[in-house]
Amino acid sequence: MKDERKIKENKETRRSFLKKTALATTFATMSACGSDTSWDEFFQKYFRTLSREEKNQIIKRLENKYSEKYGKKFSVSAKGPIDNTLFGYALDVSRCIGCRKCVYACVNENNQSRDPQIHWIRVLEMEKEKGIDFAHSNDQYNPELVPEEGHFYLPVACQQCDNPPCVKVCPVKATWKEKDGITVVDYNWCIGCRFCMAACPYGARHFNWGEPDIPEEKVNPKTHYYGNRPRNKGVVEKCTFCIQRVREGLYPSCVEICPVGARKFGNLLDPDSEIRYILKHKRVMILKEELNTQPKFYYFY
């Protein structure tokens, strides 16, 4: 017995061989992942469960990384929800003229990739005679002037469902609904399986098929961890109601840009808010109500 043990101590065993191989493979994979994936990033833990200090470390690392990459001073916020706040959005369908100003204001604010192109907002042109009819809608319209006779426009982005199907299907819990009602994605935890994209009935989630490309002069350096910070290739992203703005009390970018004032935003828990006035006094609908997703994005007229 004693001799056998001695042999094990001295000789390379099957177990230690496997250990070393596994370690070597990990290194090989990491180096293959690209030079901008650091050790800390690769082994980053689940952000939600981290202490404030650990979060701050991660944020510092990201700020440095982005600042270096884009040659601008970046800020990455991890500001939590404001108490007694549940965000809701309303859009006046009768007023939208389909100018797509919101689409590009969103791209500029939220650092979507320009090439390959990602748009969080898609404006659907519909025929008045058919009503809301996704099968016959068109997002490629490009006439000289809008609005076109006999048509109306339905901008669609994330509906911030109260019962979000995308969250249920995520196998790694990289996406969830925050207390203020915003469904967010942790881009460092997303494995890019795209189950959430299949689950979303609104086509609101978008995948970074390529390395995102944002021109240095156009990048917005004021970011939020769950929002508009630059993403990597291979992760899913979506509208967050401009989490970096609304948690500071500002309106989302699309509200600020809309030239016809069709976009309304506010706190559903505040009975004096515009959004509550709209829900009380206007004709309001939600998209694909039958799916029980319970959107907090309302269309009214």
Binding site: I82, D92, I97, G98, C99, R100, K101, V103, Y104, D115, P116, Q117, H119, R122, D139, Q140, Y141, N142, P143, E144, L145, V146, P147, V246, G249, L250, Y251, V255, E256, C258, P259, V260, G261, K264, F265, G266, N267, D270, D272, S273, E274, Y277, I278, H281, K282
Partner: protein
Amino acid sequence: MKKYSVKKHLLPLFVLFAFIFSGISYGDSLKKKGSNEISVPPPPFSEDIFPCTECHAEHDPNPERRVLEEMHDDIILKHDEKNRWCLDCHDLNNRDKLHLASGKLIDFKESYKLCGQCHGPKLREWKNGVHGKRTGRWNGAKKYLLCAHCHNPHSPEFKKMKPDPPPEDPMTGRKK
């Protein structure tokens, strides 16, 4: 013990004050206290046109309805033009003011009151933040625009515009 009871009395008072002050800062800062005016950016005058009295002081007021030829001929009225003309909104005797149907003079920056005489429901919705554009803070100070910032009062229909480019085809990366 005594000290404690004093504090106990003060606490509700303190809470009350805190409540009042937070209400002031949080509440709609648009409505000025004690007036029914709403703060808005300056009216969108054409360049060098205001004050109107700068030119009009030299002219005798002519109340007769007519087609303007010498001045303001660039204004095309498409706003119930069959029934209305300049002096239904602009005041004959005080050119720097508008007047309501009652004859009451109002400032250009209160022109929404004039518009609201016919467009009552729209005015109500504008005041409640449903009609028209609001920017600023969802939980604090907001900026309104006057009706005239988006609707030219002389031809108020919202002008058509060129749409920004459509999205690329996600499969090919090219436009369809």
